[in-house]
Subunit: 340 residues, 6 copies
C-alpha cells in the first residue's frame, strides 16, 4: 500500500447527531447522522480538491466505528491509519448540533469523554508513517482532550518534523476543554515545530495575551517561533443565517500580508466546519503552488465561504467548483445565475 | 393530587396539520402533525420557564384526543383539567397551516366547527378548581366560538376572580369568528374583571374605537376598567421570513410605560404562537417578580421573539435560554456565535 | 365537454390521514395525506384499466378541496361533476387510519359529520348528466350519511335508470352510520332499480336476514329484484398482514355461478379499498366484454387481490399488470420471479 | 372528447430529480421526484388560473411515462395529446437540480439525449388538433433538441397558424443545446409566424445581435416580423435566495410599453420555472381580457414572482391568489400578515 | 405535589437510536430518536392502563436530559422523582438498535458507561418517597451497572419494604453487564424482600442453577424466599418477524399455576420492551384486582404480545385496547377484521 | 499506489432509483438513490469480508459520476481503475426498482442505453493492471451490452488470464439484453479461459441446451472447458417476501459436489444483488482457504441469504457476521434471539 500522502491529519472523529432544519434537540423524532471532527474535515477538504490525504485516529471496533470508517472513505480520505479499539469500554464520541435562527444561537452538546481516541497508541504505527506525508496537520483539540492525547500528539509532531514534514497547526481554542492558560503553555511548547499556523485574532489576544493590530500579532508569532505562514480568518456574524467571511495570511519569507475582499452575505446553511474548510483551501493552495500565499488565501476564502452552504461538517467542493467561485468573486462584469 | 397552579388557562386545543417547508396544502404527500391553541401555547410557555401550569379544555375520547393529551403533558402542562367527550359526534378541531415566502403570505384553513370544546361543562369541575391558581388566563377566541363557550368562559372568569385569582385576558381578535362589534360588546362585559390585558394597537382602534397614541389608549383601558397591567406587542413584518418584534407595557400602579429596543431582523421559522409566547413571558415575569413590569417586558419580548424561530405553535425555551437571549440583547460588547 | 363516460359514481371523498408503517395515531409527528372514498376508489380502478370514468361529489371550495380535485385527476378520474361548497361551514370529511399487526387490528377514526357532501344539489347538474354514462355506481354509504344524501342518491339512481343506464350498487354496510334495520329498509327500496349488486355473505345474513348457502342467497336477491349480476367477495383474514381473497358471481341470465381458486397468502400492505378495487375489476370486466361474468370474476379477483399490496385507498394497476397477474394465477408451470 | 382548448403547448417533459434542501447531487440518499419542462410549466400555469389547456408531447410507454401522465393531469393539463413510445430504446429525459446558496450557485445536470420526444410524429395527430386551440405556445428548446423535433415544431407552428391560432414563442436560449448562431437562424425562420414573443434583453443582444435600449429592441422585433406582443422579463439576482422580478411588455397595436414596479426581495425557494410561470400569467392575461397588455403584465409579474416561492417546476397559484398578490403589490396602505 | 403512586420504578433511562426499517447502523443518514429502559417501560405501560406511576432516575442537566423528561411525561409517567446531573461529565446513556430479518438477527450496541445514573443519590429524596407507592419495581440491570447503583437499589428496596410497599423484581439478566455468578449472589441477597418475581426458565436454570420443570422451579423460588407471585414468560422465536408469546404465573397463596394458550404468530414490528410490557400488564392486573393472578396473566400476555407490534421500547395500549385483545384471544366465534 | 488486489471486477455501475416500501414507480414524491451493478456488488461483498478489491469501469465526469465514485469507496472498493467520460453525451445508466408483494411482483425499468460504459477503453489502463489481481471477475452483462463492451471484456479476460489471474464468470442471463442464442455463442467463446463458473440450472437448460440433473450439467461444463469450480444457486420463491436459498458447488479437482441444507423462509427485504452476494461469499471462501469448495459454499450461502435482508444492491455483512450466521445455521441447539 502506498505511503505517499500530501497531507496526514491527526484527530478525533465524532458522530454528529442533529435534528432537521430548525427543530430542537429536546424535541422531535429524528436525528441526522453524520461524522465530523476538525482534523477529518481538513483532510476531506484537501482530498476533494485533488490531493491524497489520510487521517490518523482510533475508533471503536463496532458498527459505529465501521460507519465512521465508511464515511471517511466516502469523503475521499484514506483509512490506512485508522486503528480500532476492541475493549469493553470502547466508545465513539458524539456531539449534538442544533441550528440557530436569530435570536436563537446555534448550540452544541458534547458527549466526548472516555472515548476510544484516548487509547491511541504510537506503537500501532510503523516508523514509515512519519516520512509518508508532505504536511502533517493537527489542532489544539488533540492537546486539550487529555494528557495521553497531548503527549501522543506532541510526539507525533516531533517525529513528523524530524523527517522533514511541514507541520500545520490550528489553535481551535475550546473553552470547554481547557483554560486559556493551559492552552497557551502547551501550544507555546509546540510552536517551535510549527510551519503553518492558524490562529484567530480573539485567540491571539485572549489566549496568547498579545496586543495591537492583527497583522502585528501575526508577525510576532512568526518572528518568535520562526513560523513560515500565519493565517487568520475574519468572520462577521450578521445572524446565524448570514455571515461575511475573509482572512489575512502573513508570508514570513516575503514579509508580506495578503488579503482580499471578504465574501459578503453568505447564505449560511451549516456553519460547522467552515473554519476547517478554510484551512483545507489554504493547505491545498500551498501544496499545489509551492507555497504561494496569495493563491492559498484565495482557495482558503472560497473553500471556507462555500462550506457554510453545505449541510454537515464536511466540505463538498471539487477544485472545479472552487475555481469557478474564485473567478466569480473577482469578476466585476456579468454573472450567470446558474451552473448548467 | 395537588391543586396548586401558578397559571391555569382555558381554551380549545386544535390539531395542526402543515405541509413541510414551503410545500402547499393542495399538493404533496405529508402533513406534520402538531397541536396548538392560543391558551395552550401560553400555558406551555410559562411551564417551560419553570412554573406549574394546567389547561382547562374538552377533547374527544378517541385516539386523537389521546394524542393531544400526550402532547399537552410533553409540553409540561398538567392534564388534570382535561375532560373528554364520548358522544358519537365527538370531534377535535383542526387547522391547516402553510408557510409563506414573499410575495406569498402564510395561510390558514380552519376546520373547527362542531368540536368537542362546545360541550365543555362547568359541572365537570369541582369548586376547588377556582381557588387552585394564581393567574387564570383566557382569550377572545373562547368568547367568539359560540354562545355556550362564551357563557362558560364568563362564568369561569367570575368564579376565579371571586377566589382572588388574577385574571389575564388576550383579545386575540379573529375576524372569521365574530364581528368587531360583537367582540367589543362581549369583551367590555368582562373587562371589569380583568387584571392583565393584552390588546394590539390595531384592535384598540378598529374594535374598541379608540384614538390617539398607543400609550394613551392603553392608559384609557386601565383607567376605565381598573386594569393593573396593559400590554401591547409591536411587530413589523418585513417579509414572511423577517420580522421585528417589541412591545409596550403600562403599569397602572406606577402609572409608567415600559419599552425597550425591539428585536430586529428575526429569522422567522414559524410565526404562529409567537404572540402567545410573548404573553407567557410577560406572565412569567409578573409571577416570578411580584409584578415587575420591566422584567415582564424583557421576558415577554425575548420569549415572543425566539418563538418565531421554533417550528410549531409551542415555545420551547427554558429560562436559561431566555435569560441568555435577554443578556445578549442588552449587551453592546462582544457576542459569542454559538452556545457550546 | 364530453358527456360520454363508461362509468360515473356518486360518493363522498374523504381526506385520509395515516401514520407511517406501524406507528399509531396517538403518537408520532407525521401523517401521510391521501384521498379515499368507496365510490372514488371504484371510479379510479376502472379508469386505470382503460375506461373513461368520473365522480359526482361536492367539495369545500378551499385548498383542501383543490387538493382532492388534483388527486381525483391524478388517479385518472374526471372532475367534470365535482361541485364546490363556498359556505362558511364548508368542510372536507376526514378519516384516520392505522395499520394493524397481529394481535393489534387495523383501526379507523372517522371525522365525517357536517361535511360539504351533505349540500350536494341535484339542481347543480344538467339533465344531460343522466344520459352520459353506461354504468352508474354508488354504495350504501351515501344512503346512510343522512336524509339529504339518501334522497339525492335515490333520485339520481332513478334518473340514471330512466335513461337506460345500468345501476351498480354495493351495500358496504357500516354499523357506525346506521342500523342494519335502517339499511335493509332503505336498500330494499332501491333494489328494484339495481342491475349489478355487491353484497357480502355476512351482510346478506345479518342485514337482510337471509339464510342458507351463499349461492342460494345470491340467487334469491336476483330473483326477487330482477338483478342481472350478484357478486360476493370472500376474504379470509389470517392476520392483518396475510389474507386470502376470492369471490362468487351469479349470472342471472345464464343462471350460473362463477368462482375460481382464491388468491392465497396475499401480502397485505394496505387493505383499505380492496373491496372497491374488486368492484372496479368486475365492472371493467362486464363493460369490456359485454357482460361476461367469468371475465368479470377474474378481473375482480385479481384487481381486488393486488390492491391489498398498494399503499392508500386507490388501486394502481394497469390492464397490462392485471392480465399478467391473472395469467400467473391460472398458470401451474414455471413462474418468473420479477417483471423486467 | 372536446377539442376546445384555450392553450396548447408543445414540448418535452422531463423527470426532475433533486436532493432535499441544500444537499448536493453527489451525496445523500434521497431524490425528490417531480416533472418539469418549460412548455408543461406554461400550460399548467394557465390551467391553474382557470382556462383549459393541454400539452402535445411523447412519453415512454412504461411506468415513468405513466408517472408523467398522472402528474400532467394532477397539474390540470389535458393528456389528450400525449403519445407513447413503446420501442425498446424508449426513454424519459431527466434533469438533476441542486439548489444554490451564496456563494454556491444552483446547478443542473441534464440527461436528455436519445429521449422519446425525438420520435414525436405529426401523423399521430388528427388535423382537427390544429383548429382546437386559441393559442399555441412552444419554445426554442424544441427547435434546439434535434433536427426532427425542429422540423416537427416548425410544421406544427405553420399548421396552427393556418387555422388562425395565435402563436406564442419563448426563445429560452440554452447554450448547452445549440450555439447562438444556430438559434438566431432558426428562430428568424419562425418569427414571421409569431404573434406573442418572449425574449430577454441578454438574448436580444447576444443571440440576435441587437443594440440599444431594451424597449427599442423589442419594438424592432415587432416591426420586423409583425409581432403583436413582445415581452421581456427583468430579474435581479441578489443571491440564490433573494431576487427582484419585473418585466416590460410592448403592445404593437397601441405602440405602447407597459411596465410596473418590480417585486423586490422575493424569497426564492425554487427559481426553476418562474420564467415559464411569467409566460403563463401573460398568456392568461391576454386570453382573459381580449389582449390587454397591462393586465397581462400584472398577471405575468405576479405569477412569475410567486412561482419562485413554490418547490418544483410548476406554479401552484389559483386566480384568487394571484389577484390578492396583485392587489397587495399595488396597495400602499395597511397589509395583513396572513391569509386566514 | 401528591405522593400517591400505584407504582414507582427505579432505573436508568437511555436514548435509543435506530436506523429506519431494515437499514443498518453502519450505513444510512438517519436515526430515529426514542427513549427506553426496562423500568421506564414498565411504568409507562401501567400508566397507559390507567394507574398513576412515576420513575426514580437521574439525567444529565442538558437538552438531552430535557428531551428524556419530556418523553417520560408524554408516556404518562410522573417526572417528580427525576434528578439532574449538572457536572461537566454528565452524560445520557445510549443504545443503538437495528431490526433483524432472518437470517440476520436484531442487534444492539450499548454506549452506557460513565452515565449520570451512576450519581443517583439517596439524599436527594425525601423520606416520604418510600411511603408514596403501592408497588416498587426495579430490575437486575440496576444491580449490574456498578457498585453504587447496586447499593442504592438495595437500600431503596429495603426502605420501600419497611413502609409496607410491595416489591416487584425482574431478573432481566444481561451477560454483558455481569456474570451469572455475580447476578445470583446479588439477587439472592434481595430475594427475601421480593413479593412479585419475574424470572425466565433459562435464567432459573443457568443463573440460579435450578433443575426440573419450570413450574417446580417457580414454586421453589416462592417457598425459599416467601415470594407471593412468580411469573415467567415463554417466547418462541420463529423468525425476527414472527414470535409466539405466553407465560405461567404461580400464585403462592392459592398454590396454583395459571396459564393460557399463547398468542401465536405475532407480527413482530419491534420486539424491544415486550417483556417489560408483560410486566406492566401483570402489575396492572394485580393492582386493579386485589392480586388476582389469573387476570394478571391475561393482562400480561395481551400487553406483552401487542407491544411487539409497536415501534420503540414503550407500549402504547390503553386498557380498552387490551381488553378488546383479551376478548378476541378468548373468543372462538366470529371476529371483526378492523376496529372502527 | 499499490496494485495488489485480491479481486478486480469489470462492469457497469448504475444509479438505482426506488420508491420507498411498497410505493410504486408511477406515484409518490420520493426515490431512494443508491448505486448498483452485478460486478460492483461482488467486489463490495468480498471487500466487506476483509479482502482488497477494485472495480474497472467508466463513469460520466459530472456530479452523478462523483456520487458513484464516493459510494464505491464507501462500500470498501478501490476507485483506482475508474475512468471518466467528459464528452457532451456522457451519461450514467439508471434502473428503477419497485418492491413486490404477492400477487404483485417486483419490477424493474431499465434506462441504460447510450451510457458512458460503452466508451471504456483498454488504452486507458496500464499493462500492470493485468498482473495486479488474484481473481478477475465479470458477468454476461458486459458481453451483452454491445459490441464494444463485448470485445473489451473478452480482451481483458485474455490479458488477465495470460498473467496467471484466475478468471471468474457469472452468466447472469438477461433476456432484455440479448437472446439465448447470442449468449450461448459468445459465452462458449470465453469459457475456455474461465476457472470459476456461475450458472443457474435454468440457464444451463434454456441457454446452453443442456439436459439432465443439475450436477451432471455442472460436471459437463467443467469437463468440456476445463473449469475448476462450477457453482449454481437454488432459490425457491414462496412470495416476494419469503424465499429459500441454497446452492451446489462442483469441485473439479476432487470431482465432488458440495451442498448443504438451504436457508429456509428468508425474510426478503431486497432481493436484488443476493446472487452477486452469493458470488462474493464463494470467491471469498476460495481466496481465503486455498480453494476449499466446502467453505466457499458455506460463505456463499450465508452471504447470499443475508443479503436478501439488506436494502439496496450491496451486501453489508462483515466476516464476523457471516461466521455467526454460518454457525447458527449449522447449530441445532439453543439459539440466541439477538446480538448484543
Amino acid at each position: 500500500m502506498s505511503k505517499d500522502f500530501d497531507l496526514l491529519t491527526l484527530g478525533e472523529i465524532l458522530l454528529r447527531l442533529s435534528p432537521p432544519d430548525n427543530e430542537r434537540i429536546d424535541r422531535g423524532d429524528l436525528f441526522y447522522k453524520q461524522v465530523g471532527g476538525a482534523e477529518l474535515n481538513v483532510a476531506s477538504g484537501v482530498s476533494l480538491l485533488g490531493l491524497r490525504t489520510g487521517i490518523i485516529s482510533k475508533l471503536p471496533q463496532n458498527s459505529l466505528g465501521r460507519y465512521v470508517k465508511n464515511r471517511v472513505r466516502f469523503f475521499g480520505v484514506s483509512d490506512d491509519y485508522l486503528t480500532y479499539d476492541a475493549a469493553d469500554d470502547q466508545r465513539l464520541g458524539i456531539y449534538y448540533y442544533e441550528n440557530g435562527a436569530y435570536p436563537r444561537k446555534p448550540s452544541v452538546v458534547y458527549d466526548r469523554d472516555y472515548t476510544s481516541i484516548h487509547k491511541i497508541n504510537l506503537n500501532d504505527y510503523d516508523a514509515s508513517l512519519f516520512s509518508s506525508a508532505r504536511i502533517f496537520h493537527t489542532t489544539g483539540i488533540m492537546l486539550a482532550l487529555g494528557e495521553h492525547t497531548r503527549a501522543t500528539t506532541i510526539e507525533m509532531i516531533k517525529r513528523f518534523k524530524e523527517r522533514g514534514t511541514l507541520i500545520s497547526f490550528d489553535v481551535n481554542f475550546r473553552g470547554n476543554l481547557w483554560t486559556g492558560e493551559e492552552a497557551r503553555k502547551t501550544i507555546e511548547e509546540i510552536l517551535p515545530f510549527v510551519d503553518i499556523f492558524f490562529c484567530s485574532e480573539d485567540t491571539a489576544k485572549l489566549t496568547f495575551k498579545k496586543n495591537g493590530a492583527l497583522t502585528d500579532m501575526m508577525k510576532e508569532f512568526s518572528d518568535e517561533y520562526n513560523i513560515s505562514v500565519v493565517a487568520s480568518t475574519q468572520r462577521i456574524v450578521h445572524s446565524p443565517k448570514i455571515h461575511d467571511f475573509g482572512s489575512v495570511i502573513y508570508d514570513a519569507e516575503k514579509d508580506y500580508y495578503y488579503t482580499e475582499d471578504p465574501y459578503k452575505s453568505i447564505d449560511v446553511v451549516d456553519r460547522i466546519g467552515s473554519g476547517d474548510a478554510y484551512i483545507s483551501g489554504v493547505l491545498y493552495g500551498l501544496l499545489s503552488t509551492n507555497m504561494d500565499c496569495e493563491k492559498a488565501l484565495q482557495y482558503g476564502n472560497a473553500t471556507g465561504s462555500v462550506k457554510n452552504t453545505i449541510p454537515g461538517d464536511m466540505p463538498s467542493s471539487t477544485l472545479d467548483e472552487i475555481e469557478r467561485i474564485i473567478k466569480e468573486h473577482q469578476n466585476t462584469g456579468i454573472k450567470l445565475e446558474m451552473d448548467r
